[in-house]
């Protein structure tokens, strides 16, 4: 396609359009004549074309890779109801949206069963889980949920635990005989620590693993806001 640009566009726009046509392989002989005329007093246009060709090649590849995930997404034609909570659950069960929806799914499950309690996710305050505390003397920890809540609370106090991501990574989902699902998932708890030196493992030509200091690439510490 090589439509002329609309009238009123300035020289810069005209250059851009000509370059785009060359880069896209759509330049006409007239376009090339015009380009040569421009180049006769401004050779830099050839360099611009070369740069734009590189950029286009790279961008095309990046976008093609990125949009290829669309091939995995089908229309959920069997899902017609539009009630919001059900919609969330459906999203959790339609395959591709698993990871993001897993948090919702787990929230439902955990909330109903009251089993493993999720400590106040990523809040700065103390956990508001249902730990039993009487007269200032904490009762013995009797469940994994309570232990985790305690760990989060103490970790936050000491600064070792930053928080838990609200989404858990679902590894496996198996229907059970009673119509429910067994979900195997990975919690994502973020900790921090302070060290004197940082090392990384490396492998030499013989396949031997060894550690090397990673002093040349200091870890970037993000700032909270």
């Amino acid at each position: 396609m090589s439509d002329a640009p609309s009238t009123g566009t300035n020289d810069r726009d005209r250059h851009d359009v000509l370059i785009a046509r060359v880069v896209d392989g759509n330049a006409t002989s007239e376009d090339w004549r015009e380009l040569r005329a421009i180049a006769s007093h401004d050779q830099s246009i050839w360099a611009e074309i070369a740069e734009q060709q590189d950029l286009k090649r790279e961008l095309d590849g990046a976008v093609e890779d990125a949009v290829s995930v669309a091939e995995r997404v089908e229309l959920p034609m069997h899902e017609h109801a539009s009630v919001a909570p059900r919609r969330r659950l459906r999203l959790a069960l339609t395959g591709g949206g698993w990871v993001a929806a897993a948090g919702l799914l787990l929230a439902f499950t955990v909330g109903v069963r009251g089993g493993v309690q999720t400590p106040a996710l990523l809040s700065n305050g103390p956990s508001d889980g249902q730990r039993t505390v009487s007269a200032g003397i904490p009762s013995p920890i009797t469940s994994a949920g309570e232990a985790l809540a305690k760990y989060m609370e103490l970790g936050r106090q000491s600064g070792e635990v930053i928080g838990e991501l609200p989404t858990s990574l679902v590894l496996e989902r198996t229907p059970t005989d009673d119509g429910r699902y067994k979900v195997v998932y990975l919690r994502q708890i973020v900790e921090q620590t302070f060290v004197d030196d940082v090392y990384q493992t490396a492998t030499d030509d013989t396949g031997q693993t060894f550690v090397v200091p990673k002093a040349s690439t200091p870890a970037a510490l993000p700032t909270a806001n």
């Binding site: 566009t9 810069r12 785009a20 734009q52 790279e58 990046a62 949009v67 970037a220």
Partner: protein, 207 residues
């Protein structure tokens, strides 16, 4: 070459008739037709989402959301000719809604994610430095397109989808072909400036 109305090749007319029929059947509840329709448009829908979604949002999750909205609202589509614009609106709205949700989630979550990303990146960096570098550069490039003025970003992104012509982009965005061409040309220049860290020229979007 002039800008006037072009003759539509017979094969294209056939395609359009076929697609209109598909759209009618889909809006009448034909699941197979709806599925085929989605399959032939989902790649550019993904490109639209890429141009509008906030950084860090999962594209596949957003596409799932869009697919569900399509299923729920397809019966409301009366005019087959409006299909592409309708689908684009759903994609843009979904991406923007995610942006609003994300804006509300800040603070520690951001810190936690950044920490995790950094640790995963350094691990992957060691395992496959060239692949990671390439992937990071691709992601950065896509983020830069999303940083372009909206009018440019969407056209530039759509042009990268295999086989997408200015005319097809015009159908989706509702813009004349010449405007699409100009926006792509300007957008690419601005993208190059952004990629090179050069200051923007500050030109307004006029077409």
């Amino acid at each position: 070459m002039g800008v006037g109305r072009r003759m539509v090749p017979a094969s294209k007319r056939g395609d359009r008739v076929g697609e209109s029929d598909l759209i009618r059947r889909a809006s009448a509840g034909d699941a197979e037709a709806a599925g085929l329709l989605w399959q032939s448009h989902r790649r550019w829908v993904a490109a639209i989402v890429l141009a509008h979604k906030p950084q860090g949002t999962d594209l596949e999750d957003l596409l799932q959301e869009i697919a569900l909205t399509v299923v729920e609202k397809l019966h409301q589509l009366d005019e087959p000719g409006a299909f592409k614009g309708w689908l684009r609106s759903i994609a843009v709205n979904a991406a923007r809604a995610t942006g609003r949700k994300q804006t509300r989630r800040a603070g520690l979550l951001k810190l936690a994610r950044t920490e995790l990303d950094a640790s995963q990146r350094s691990r992957a960096d060691f395992e496959d430095p060239s692949g990671v570098e390439r992937a990071e550069r691709s992601a950065r490039l896509i983020d830069l397109v999303a940083d372009l003025p909206e009018a440019y970003g969407e056209c530039v992104m759509l042009r990268c989808v295999r086989g997408m012509s200015h005319a097809q982009i015009g159908e989706i965005t509702g813009l004349p072909e010449t405007t699409v061409e100009t926006r792509i040309a300007r957008g690419r220049r601005k993208l190059k400036e952004l990629a090179q860290g050069a200051p923007e020229t500050g030109k307004a979007v006029t077409s």
